[in-house]
């Protein structure tokens, strides 16, 4: 794990550990990971203390503390308290090292994050601490050194530490989202960071390109493109200029990577009927997964790779089915509504999110894999489609036309905190959350 911290480009990140008395998730049940959004923990993130002086320090300390607050708020676990209610001024208060916890508990903060920022030349040294104010305990403290330009990476890394300390999981701060946008006049694939920052165009096919899918290691992206005049499947390496193409006759679409393998499922219709196949990452057919005349499309894998869910019209209307790969048995999952498509299997294995259409409107639903516990997450504000889970299973990204043109939104897995992720020129659709990326 230490190797992850060493960067190639001169970014120096130094970690100092404080002796933190044996904190483990089992001891402190901060976030009930099975019901993480039942109650948001009140958290305070005051402006960071300026250890150096000058204009750059002023700017950086403010933007860094804002970014930290925003990033933690993004998870949906915390309620960030308004700075106006704070009793402490971090600049004049000389007690950066020792905190008067009563100042924080009295305004209702249960968690506190403080920071100290020192800027010199183009380098920043930032110290960040997470406290439990009621237990009056330091939970995690880190010191980072790096280029000023890398402040976002530093903040994200500390957020990872915070979430790890509180939940045992590293969270989604090193993830990205692929999406389709029509800004250039054609549908092309774009990638942005999990919070919508730094969108950049990935494909330049100048034709219809859609349906992105990330491999488990984040190194490959599969997608469908009409670059050669018909819907072919492209398997592109994200770091180098190489890849593979599946260009059989008919459609080659809806790629879905097998968990932790260089294999993917896809819908191919070269047999004159759309069926789902398992392919190698180089595009060769391994085996056929569906045997039903009529539409079978949109595969999604269980996290253990033992089952695959998909959309089929075998009972007359589009519904979601699950196939057990060992037994070959196919079971129907959705019985409510006459048009259920776009399934995505939760990385936790227990739930399926999908879009269901009623009266011409699409909404997002979640149901247990056992068919129980159906909940509707969006309610008739425009069309809500293409749901995709964050890799920790706590958040769902989707597209919505509630404002008019289709935009990308994020919400918790319970449907709360629905907010727009970003706005690009044109219409944005088909978001797909990446796995955790090793080098972010």
């Amino acid at each position: 794990m230490r190797n992850c911290w060493i960067k190639l480009f001169g970014l120096i990140v130094i970690i100092s550990f404080w002796a933190v008395p044996g904190v483990s998730r089992a001891e402190y049940d901060y976030v009930d990971i099975s019901h993480p959004f039942l109650r948001k923990i009140p958290m305070a993130v005051p402006l960071f203390k300026k250890v150096s002086s000058g204009h750059e320090t002023d700017q950086l300390s403010e933007s860094a503390s804002d970014l930290l607050a925003e990033t933690l708020e993004f998870t949906g676990f915390f309620k960030l308290l308004d700075r106006k209610a704070f009793l402490v001024n971090p600049q004049t208060d000389t007690t950066f090292v020792s905190v008067n916890f009563h100042d924080w508990t009295s305004i209702g903060a249960e968690l506190l994050v403080t920071g100290g920022v020192l800027v010199q030349d183009n380098l920043v040294e930032i110290e960040l601490r997470l406290y439990d104010t009621f237990k009056e305990q330091l939970l995690v403290g880190k010191r980072y050194k790096g280029q000023v330009a890398d402040i976002r990476k530093i903040i994200r890394r500390f957020c990872s530490e915070v979430i790890y300390t509180l939940t045992g999981d590293r969270g989604i701060f090193n993830t990205e989202i692929a999406l389709v946008s029509t800004g250039t006049g054609n549908k092309e694939i774009y990638i942005c960071e999990f919070d919508g920052y730094n969108p950049r165009q990935l494909t330049h096919t100048k034709n219809i390109t859609l349906s992105p899918a990330w491999s488990s290691d984040g190194e490959w992206l599969a997608y469908t493109s009409y670059a050669k005049g018909k819907p072919d499947l492209y398997i592109k390496n994200l770091r180098g200029n190489r890849g593979y193409v599946v260009a059989k006759k008919g459609i080659n679409t809806t790629p879905a990577w097998f968990p932790n393998k260089f294999e993917l499922a896809a819908t191919l219709s070269f047999s004159d009927d759309p069926e789902i196949y398992l392919l190698t990452g180089t595009g060769k057919i391994i085996k056929r997964l569906t045997y039903n005349k009529g539409i079978d499309v949109s595969p999604t894998w269980s996290p253990d790779g033992k089952s695959v869910a998909f959309v089929s019209k075998r009972s007359g209307t589009p519904q979601i089915y699950i196939k057990d790969l060992d037994s070959g048995q196919v079971k129907r999952l959705t019985f409510q509504g006459r048009y259920n498509t776009q399934p995505s299997w939760s990385p936790r294995g227990d739930k399926m999110v999908y879009s269901g259409m009623e009266n011409g409107h699409n909404n997002i639903f979640v149901v247990g894999i056992d068919g129980q516990g159906l909940i509707q997450l969006t309610h008739n504000e425009g069309d809500n489609e293409s749901p995709s889970w964050s890799p920790d299973g706590t958040l769902i990204v989707f597209s919505s036309t509630r404002e008019g043109p289709s935009r990308i939104y994020v919400m918790t897995s319970y449907g709360t905190d629905q907010r727009r992720l970003l706005v690009l020129k044109g219409r944005q659709t088909e978001p797909k959350w990446s796995p955790r990326m090793i080098n972010k």
Binding site: K230, I251, T253, P274, S298
Partner: protein, 183 residues
Amino acid sequence: MQKKLWIILAMVFVIPGLLFTASCAKKAVKEDTSLSQQAQDEAAEKARQEELARQRAIEEARLKEEAIQKAKDNFLNEDIHFEFDSATLTPDAQEILKTKAEWLQNNPNVKSSVEGHCDERGTLEYNLALGERRASNAKSFLVDLGIPASRLITISYGEERPADPGQNEAAWAKNRRCHFTLN
């Protein structure tokens, strides 16, 4: 007295005689002109007939050309349509496909793409598959009518290329279609 009688007699005979000769002479002239006139008329008539025939031939050729163009235009412009979420060929669609099969039979060197399209409701990936089913069914129908499968390619565009961008039932009905192009 006798002189007068001779004069009158002469006049009685001469003048009509003169008249006779004159008219005879006229007649003789008439006959001459009508002969060449007749020839001329016949020639003119013949020319007119030929001209008419030629005009008719041109007209026929033009009509034939128009019909060929119309049949080709029909092949390209007349789409078949579908019910919502259905790839089944309606009786209307089947009639149109029969005409298309005929055209393809008459133009045996031609290859065609059958495009499958959907309206914008419903979801993207499902619509790609539905478009493919529509194109595939249309192709099968044509193959059953004797068109070799190698002459037909199917391409689904799902909901990506609507014919009508409107968001109403009329526009959606137009978009649920198979469209034919030539390769």
